[in-house]
Amino acid sequence: MITLTINGKKYEAQKNQNLLQVALDNGIEIPHLCYHEKLSPYGGCRLCQVEVTKGKKVELTTSCTYPAVQGIQVETETPRVQRARRLMMKLILPMAPESPKIQKLARELGAEYIPSSCRSREKGDSCIKCGLCIRACEELVGVSTITFSSKGPERKVVPPFEEEPESCIGCGTCVHVCPTGCITMEDLGRKRKLERWKRILNMKVCNDCSNPYIPAAQVDYYLKRTGDTTLTEWFDLCPDCR
């Protein structure tokens, strides 16, 4: 067990825990966009900045990538931290100005988007390149359908060669974790469409009610992964008819 201080109060933490998780577990709010407790920390959105004092060294750092270390002091609301979060949010907001979650966070951090005569920011495609979808697809689903390509401002999340990804099972985990809602999934009768990944999947139909209810590729992947063929029949019926 590790003991550390957050905002002057002592807290206990597990080894291998990161500071953001320790704070969240103890009800201390730290804004974040690219972190999810079930996924490995990435440190891309740079919003979860805190000030850490370790010995004589004081540093501004992202709490999601900083490991819980015995005896350190963490400050989550210093003027420097607040300035960093506000300026970060000013950079993030124009990337996804239509996203309610981003708008709300920007308001909270005092980084409202004020169009000014000397600013001509390009509107983004709502993706902030936080990589949550990539990590979810790799670490949770296990199919690694999408990845980052290019560098610098050209960086984007794409399936390999930007072609329709055969490996995508249409599970929608990426849609669920995306903080800006820029990944969409539509069910169009017997087809499911993920526009962003150029993926169109055939849906499996319920033997009873004839309603399409799950992508066939997802069933195949599930059976392959579990190796349990007895489940084949289970998938013949939709949840409503089971």
Binding site: G43, Y66, A84, M88, L91, F148, K151, P153, R155
Partner: protein
């Protein structure tokens, strides 16, 4: 060649090589570094071979390819030993004359000697040329004596003695202590004490340890590491092996960028030869120390030079930096303790072992011992690679070695440390160049780039150039770096177009702050330096662009226009001929004028005019 299996084997070979040496025999050394090669030094070598054969001198004169001498703008360079007669900008057709006059008649070919651009004086010997005279070339100096593709050349100059001494007569702790005592600081830019890094790696838990040479040099205009790897690869390998012994590593990597084909070729050959001679591999010189080296090619992303990104690249992942709360010295390559140092840092190690920490400390300044190689480029008379003791004032570098500013113009600023360095103005020229002082001035040592700018450089444009470079080279992981640099670039672009407003300076300050403070790796954390330093030292220039829509240096195309002084113009029509958009109007023989509606401000008319009649406002 038989494998060397003991120190006495090595010493025997060294003696034998020395006995073959005939001090009186003329040796023609030809630089075959990338700079000279680009100017056909390969053809010059062949021309020499042919001419010597024709005159029956092949047995009497030796011909040797060497590494880069540093004075690349004067290339191709040849030096004739033992007199050390130096010829510059040699062409293949000059060779018969050189052989006839210098090798046969023992006279110099005056027209090929270096002529000082300031005094007009000619110098026959390399060591008298001001560019070399004021340097202290303890690392780089051997480049001109060694054929980088021949290990025996290196061994003949007491090469691998330091390694032999370390692994057979000292224990690893002693080696480590010597490097610590020497206070060698990382030449890649951060200046972290190498000895401490090695010690941390040595003491870190884990059986497997690694050493890495960072040769992913990517700063525009800087090529010191390339020249060392191309010109004297065994020096780097010897340093690496000594470090591996001190740390307890059995495996090392040299990470070289793909764009350095000659460096790759030479380091690969060097590794191969060192293995054949028993200077790498199992049981080196019978000491029981095993050490192997693998050369890895980088795909050429600037950010891969960042230590954690480089480690990712060696592991086979994309070259993207990782958080460094746990140091690479503790958990680096494949999670094992790893010491990663720059090419030049490793090249310092054999010297420290040979001459001792005391001697090493006598060069340079107090907390910055040793020398540093810089790439001196830009608007100075003499450009090239230079090596000076740390603590040498910028003024000495620019005026003594560099020969001052070209064409008698005024000095404006010097940018040190590569694209993320800061611009240092005239009032700080007497500051000694070392790791600490450069950081204090808002710049940095970086890997040693030094770009000199004159009064005709616009500092807003300079900052814009570096933001453009860094914008493209950011890996894009941290939003602060990816979007911060992009926005700084956009604002700077607007200012240079005359579309800037007062608020922009405030915005720039905020963006510079967030990019510096919120980003993960050194690329983002230092990227703002060009903006911060130019805002600090050249704020008036920014204001002139914003308020008066005027570029004082006459660089920003949107803010300047060309005109012709009728008093000076004699209507020769040269400008009219070169103008690609027919913006020069008037009849030949009478003063002419420029139509600014058509002019694209390329400046070719100004270059073409022989009477200085074309003016920029």
């Amino acid at each position: 060649m038989n494998r060397l299996t003991s120190v006495s084997d090595l010493e025997k070979l060294q003696k034998e090589l020395a006995s073959r040496n005939q001090p009186e025999r003329p040796v023609v050394t030809l630089c075959q570094g990338t700079g000279c090669k680009a100017y056909a030094s390969g053809k010059i070598y062949k021309a020499f071979e042919k001419e010597l054969a024709l005159r029956g001198l092949t047995q009497k004169v030796s011909l040797k390819s060497t590494g880069c001498h540093g004075f690349c703008e004067q290339g191709p360079i040849i030096v004739i030993l033992p007199e050390e007669i130096c010829y510059c900008r040699v062409k293949p057709e000059d060779i018969p004359e050189i052989v006839e006059k210098t090798l046969v008649e023992k006279k110099t070919v005056d027209r090929l000697l270096f002529t000082d651009p300031v005094s007009g004086e000619k110098f026959a010997h390399e060591s008298e040329i001001p560019f070399y005279k004021y340097q202290r070339r303890v690392i780089f100096g051997k480049n001109r004596l060694v054929d980088p593709q021949n290990i025996e050349d290196y061994i003949g100059l007491e090469g691998y003695s330091a390694l032999a001494h370390a692994i057979t007569r000292l224990n690893p702790e002693k080696v480590l202590l010597e490097v610590k005592k020497a206070n060698l600081r990382g030449r890649g830019g951060a200046g972290f004490p190498t000895g401490i890094k090695w010690e941390t790696t040595r003491n870190a838990p884990g059986e497997k340890k690694y050493v890495i040479v960072n040769a992913d040099e990517g700063d525009p205009g800087a090529y010191m590491d390339r020249s060392l790897l191309e010109g004297n690869p065994h020096l780097v390998l010897e340093g690496l092996a000594i470090g591996a012994y001190a740390i307890g590593a059995r495996e090392g990597f040299v990470f070289v960028r793909q764009e350095y084909p000659l460096a790759l070729e030479n380091i690969n050959k060097a590794v191969q030869q060192a293995k054949e001679y028993g200077l790498l591999g199992k049981n080196i010189l019978g000491s029981g120390f095993d050490f192997d080296v693998t050369v890895k090619r980088g795909a050429g992303a600037f950010v891969s030079g960042e230590s954690s990104a480089l480690i990712s690249a060696i592991e086979g992942s994309a070259g993207e930096p990782r958080p460094k709360h746990v140091n690479a010295a503790v958990s680096g390559l494949w999670g094992s303790p790893t010491s990663l140092n720059n090419v030049e840092t490793w090249a310092n190690v054999p010297l420290i072992m040979n001459k001792g920490a005391g001697w090493y400390g006598s060069i340079g300044s107090d907390k910055n011992p040793g020398t540093k190689i810089f790439s001196l480029v830009g608007k100075v008379n003499n450009t090239g690679l230079i090596e000076v003791p740390l603590g040498t004032p910028l003024r000495n570098i620019i005026y003594d070695i560099g020969g001052g500013i070209k064409d008698g113009k005024k000095f404006k600023a010097v940018q040190t440390g590569g694209p993320s360095g800061g611009c240092i103005p005239e009032q700080h020229l007497d500051v000694p160049v070392d790791f600490d002082r450069l950081s204090q001035m808002g710049s940095m040592m970086g890997s040693g780039g030094m770009i000199v700018m004159d009064e005709k450089s616009c500092m807003v444009d300079v900052a814009k150039y570096f933001m453009q470079f860094l914008k493209e080279e950011s890996c894009g992981k941290c939003i602060s770096c990816r979007a911060g640099i992009k926005e700084m670039h956009e604002i700077l672009e607007r200012i240079t177009l005359g579309e800037g407003c007062e608020k922009d300076l405030e915005q720039l300050t905020d963006l510079a702050w967030i990019t510096e403070n919120a980003s993960l790796c050194a690329l983002g954390r230092t990227a703002s330096n060009p903006v911060i330093s130019t805002l600090k030292y050249f704020r008036e220039e920014y204001k002139a662009h914003i308020r008066e829509k005027h570029c004082p240096a006459g660089v920003c195309k949107a803010l300047i226009h060309y005109s012709i002084d009728p008093e000076r113009c004699n209507g020769c029509g040269r400008c009219q001929k070169v103008c690609s958009v027919e913006a020069v109007e008037g009849e030949k023989g009478a003063p002419i004028s420029i139509n600014n509606d058509f002019c694209i401000r390329c400046g070719i008319c100004q270059e073409a005019c022989r009477f200085n009649a074309v003016m920029v406002e």
